[in-house]
């Protein structure tokens, strides 16, 4: 009996490996958006490219990044399941707690990534020149 539970635990623990990866995806999108926006701006401004095209590109990239982060955030929100199970702490070491904790962390990281992407995008969208 105990052996079966342990095996089951091990399997469920392994299953969470993907969701450990998943919590990094929000910040990863933020990082990619940040690097691409800044380097594209630096290159276009240094080489004298079309600022209008650059701003449009950053606008589209921002929309895609925000959509991706929002989707990740929604998935994480469901995994956290905080409305049904109103506990902020998931500290008992059970597989359900691990599952919910990873959802919780992923949701908060998605939220901060969303804000980060918006704040990174505002200057190029509101300032019209390289100067």
């Amino acid at each position: 009996m105990t052996q079966i539970t342990e095996k089951q635990e091990a399997r469920e623990f392994h299953a969470e490996a993907t969701s450990v990866w998943r919590i990094t995806f929000g910040p990863l999108l933020w990082a990619v958006h940040f690097v691409v926006s800044y380097s594209a701006t630096a290159v276009v401004c240094a080489k004298g490219g079309d600022v209008g095209v650059l701003r449009l590109g950053i606008g589209i990239g921002t929309f895609l990044a925000l959509a991706g982060i929002a989707w990740l955030g929604w998935r994480a929100w469901q995994q956290w399941d905080t409305l049904r199970n109103r506990g902020w702490e998931n500290d008992t070491g059970t597989s359900q707690d691990r599952h919910q904790f990873l959802g919780h962390a992923a949701f908060l990281l998605a939220a901060i990534s969303f804000i980060g992407v918006v704040y990174v995008a505002l200057p190029p969208l509101l300032i019209e020149s390289c100067q």
Binding site: A111, V118, Y119, L122, P123, L126, I127, S129, Q131
Partner: protein, 328 residues
């Protein structure tokens, strides 16, 4: 001792009040489109900060003194998530959306006139460029027409400086080997003081200039006069001064258009007598101040490139002063 310190305090208070009233070099007395929008932004930020501080303070007193009961979980969650996350994110976002577009105006292109300003140690090379390409060299003073946007093409010779006329607009760094741009649009005629705003060496604090905002027709007349060659010296002492100027080799560094003096090292002196200040905003434009300056450059402006002509007799310095003051 007590009386002394009280006097000093009174002086300090007076200086504070007077400098605030004067407003020639104050962001609190805006006279240009860009300075006005910065002033508005500062007021919004300041009032907003005060309101927020009072709100948070009141809330703190409420939960610790007035009503120090345990809060329901739901209330606490709303307070933390709402007041700690949602509210600041929305507020900062709104402030960003309001303030970022303000950065566009100072980068707007000029409406015809461009002024090339190159920062030297420690003075300003100024060169007016008309729409037809004509260049009119000047120095240590900036004149702008009221109501139109004038472009300033900024460069620096050797070290980084920063261009700033607080009453007219924000500051822009002047970087050797890299051209920067700012435009200014004064709204009221007047004389405003500019100051180098980036430490640039021993006499950084002594690197200022007067900015004269003029009605468009006055400006056009001034520019026409500025473009002319220097007037020949009118009086005997002035003619003597002109001779000494030539004899001492001043023309090796300075230009006086219409004479043999064509040096490019120091400021253009063609109309130096009609400027509002001498030695980049430090001295008055009087024959005495010219004589003082030429005789004691390093005492007035430490480490300045121009040598002190303290070996010249007083009469020669006085004659030079009369000549230069007459270059209207």
């Amino acid at each position: 001792m007590y009386v002394h310190s009280r006097n000093a305090l009174a002086c300090l208070a007076a200086a504070f009040v007077l400098s605030a009233c004067d407003g020639r070099q104050s962001v609190l007395a805006p006279s240009g489109t860009d300075a006005l929008s910065v002033f508005d932004l500062a007021r919004v930020m300041f009032i907003g900060a005060v309101v927020l501080w009072l709100l948070v303070g009141t809330l703190f007193i409420y939960v610790t003194r007035i009503n120090p009961r345990e809060m329901s979980r739901r209330k606490a969650e709303i307070l933390i998530v709402g007041g700690g996350v949602v509210f600041p994110v929305l507020l900062l976002g709104a402030l960003l959306v309001y303030s970022l577009p303000l950065m566009n105006a100072p980068r707007l292109a000029d409406e015809g006139l461009r002024v090339h300003i190159t920062a030297e140690q420690w003075w300003w090379r100024v060169d007016y460029e008309l729409p037809d390409g004509t260049r009119i060299p000047s120095a240590n003073e900036l004149r702008l027409p009221v109501g139109t946007r004038t472009g300033l093409v900024l460069n620096a010779k050797k070290v980084i400086h920063s261009f700033w006329v607080p009453a007219l607009g924000g500051k822009t760094d002047m970087i050797p080997g890299r051209e920067t741009f700012q435009s200014l649009q004064p709204v009221t005629a007047g004389v405003y003081r500019g100051q180098c705003a980036e430490f640039c060496g021993a006499s950084h604090a002594l690197m200022a200039f007067e900015t004269v905002a003029m009605e468009p027709e006055d400006f056009a007349a001034w520019l026409e006069a500025e473009a002319r060659d220097a007037q020949p010296p009118a009086t005997a002492p002035a003619r003597r001064g002109a001779k000494i100027f030539a004899r001492e080799g001043c023309g090796g560094c300075h230009t006086v258009r219409g004479t043999d003096a064509v040096g490019q090292v120091g400021p253009d002196l063609t109309h130096v007598g009609s400027r509002k200040s001498l030695a980049a905003g430090i001295l008055d434009v009087t024959a005495e101040d010219f004589a003082d300056w030429i005789g004691h450059t390093d005492a007035i402006k430490p480490e300045v490139a121009m040598p002190s002509y303290d070996f010249l007799p007083r009469e020669d310095l006085a004659a030079l002063g009369i000549y230069l003051e007459g270059l209207k």
